[in-house]
Amino acid sequence: MTVTEWESLLDRTSFIELDARERAKALLDEGTADELCGPFDRIESPWLEPQGVVPQADDGVVVVKGLLDGRRVVVIGIEQAFQGGGIGEVSGAKIAAALSLAARDSRAGTPTAAVLLLETGGVRLQEANLGLATVAEVCAAVLELRALQPVVGVIAGALGCFGGVSIAAGLCTTLIMTAESRLGLDGPEVIESEAGIAEFDASDHPLIWSIDGGTQRVRTGLADALVLDDVTALRSAVAGAVRQGVPAEHRSRRIGELRARLEAVDPAHPPAPSELAAVWGRPAQSEGDQG
């Protein structure tokens, strides 16, 4: 990045510094936010306390309905400060239900798009199978809604989006990332502990970001927009994605293209991360693509 871009960082209001509730509200038009199933409804996970974890009254997921540039949206935010954004039975059900309700409203003549704020390590270990089952429901609900209205994913922070939830991210109509954010199925520590440090060194930050980082994901077309971690910039990127509506064909349906990509890579001699965009026939985008 150039010097002037670094300086512009200082004039921004960081999006990821806000908690999930503030983030959801920051995206919506002033005075239109209406939280569903909030902390005072006290719908919390029954599985944490027996395992010595203090539960949270919203189970770490915030659902807020409102208007974005006058269009109806539901923002679903995962709070990364609670259990590393891990999804459990209740929080997963909240996400799936909110998406399904948006689909029902859309079918009933009130088009409602969804925005997913995906700061999560994936399924919460304490709720293993229940969490996995609920992630399947989330994916099904994304598929249900995206046929009717756009589902916009945002990954803004260095924690990133991993595990089962990364599959939901892959299903989004549009995926927006920052340079600090990461996206991957298995997190670096998981790969290192399963396959050894020679396969993936989880302490090597440049390596991790060269593969999972927002810049690389956008460059290789696995995410759509690279935006500065700034409330105004992210809000305008999300609003733009909602405005674009439903595409003719979602990325996850372009099976032929994805298969060709897999075939272009020889696992025995994988390309360097910097070469991947070229191997996949996408010209590398310039570094200045910072929104």
Partner: protein
Amino acid sequence: MARTKVATRDWTRRRTAKRDRLERVRPFVSGRVLDAGRMGAALEALLRPGDRVALEGDNQKQADFLAEALAGCDPQAVHDLHLLISSISLKEHLDVFERGVARRLDFAYAGPQSVRMAQLLADGKVEVGAIHTYVELYARMFVDLIPNVALLCAEQADRDGNLFTGPGTEDTPTIAEAVAFSDGVTVVQVNEIVDEVPRVDIPGDWVDLIVRSPRPFALEPLFTRDPRHIGQVEILMAMMTLRGIYERHGVTTLNHGIGYDTAAIELLLPTYGEELGLRGKICRHWALNPHPTLIPAIESGWVESVHCFGGEPGTERYVAARPDVFFTGRDGSLRSNRVLCQLAGQYAVDLFIGSSLQIDGSANSSTVTEGRLSGFGGAPNMGHDPHGRRHPSAAWLSLLTGQAPALRGRKLVAQITQTFRSGGDPAFVETLDAVPVGKDASMPIPPIMIYGDDVSHVVTEEGVAYLYKASSLAERREAVAAVAGATAIGQEIDERRVGELRRDGLVALPEDLKVDVRRAKRSLLAARSVEDLVAWSGGLYDPPARFRTW
């Protein structure tokens, strides 16, 4: 009779020994340059059993190639060495003892190796002379611990042995001086041998032998703190420190210890400090390493000067671009010097503030915890009231002490900590772990880092205790208890008594300092991530890879 004896004494034994040693390594040397491939054999030729060897293990840079070669020496040939190491950082520093190459050790700090250090001591593999503070250990190299050989490290050497250390000069000139002028032998590992060094940090005639290390020496970014990990409690404590100590006493010259607590203070200067109108009134002159978290304060005009103990990886270009603030050489890069900066931190600054791991009821503090023999490093040099100080300053005089005519000011020594550390361990304890650890290690006195009677202020999330105002030990204990929160120490005092201490000015809570607790948020930090620090530096700061999240 006596006269005859005196006349026969040889006054040049050290010089003769040096000539002899250099003669023995001649097969391994061309000019002054040793053959790196035969370093072990060269050391076996150079060293004699029982030699006192200063091995450069600094707080940051490490003569790792020489340490490795020493650890690999044949214990039949080289044994019973007495090592002087200021900071035991590498595995090889202790391998030397395990293999029987060395037996005796004098050191200052063993942070990264503190567990193994305690184990070797328990196993009788190492005899510890003493655990020092940094300046103490260097000082003894000129008095009763003069080394026979020094194993040092530098960035570059020319063929005449002139050394360029780069920004991390640290301890090298001091050790080199102790050895070069006592007819010892100095051996220096360098990353590169060049025709001309960019600047001379140590003149060639202090240097006997150089060797080109197959890889650059190890250097740790010890002083980099990622602002992402600074939370609301650190911010609250930083706000109270700024109002209750820096503003109240008018602190213009200071040193900060390492940690998120002090990093938070650095990052509040351009925001909260600016709001309070304190720029130019506090924090103008520093004895401090180039902390990346100080960049925003420097850029917004708070900082007039910084003298450094050592460098910090990633800050090279930034420091070189700010020569009015940092000490730099003719080549443009930072010149640091640990012993001089320690002296500055001892005599020339009005305030030292550092984090502690444990504080007892009398405010004695220690970073020694069970099973670890971590040593002292430099904190006690700065964390005490030096009775050799004579120059006055407003801050120093604001803690006036003594009976007329023997009045004197006092150094501000502040300890900052949350009442409970992460993991739920109380920071305030009845008995410091240092007491049993000292006993187990057969130390004559417990290894206390900072003595309670030197501590002038304690800051916690509860408030500030002004211990210098206490008129008795009992009152000091009460003031500590008043800010010790829900720990056992904190429960020793009742509310009514806390009220009296507040009225008498021994304790201040946030409201007494006009600190609005609700404002203690991360948005108050001038930089909230390493990217922000890079931005503040105008792209001049190059954070080490491990701190990059992009």
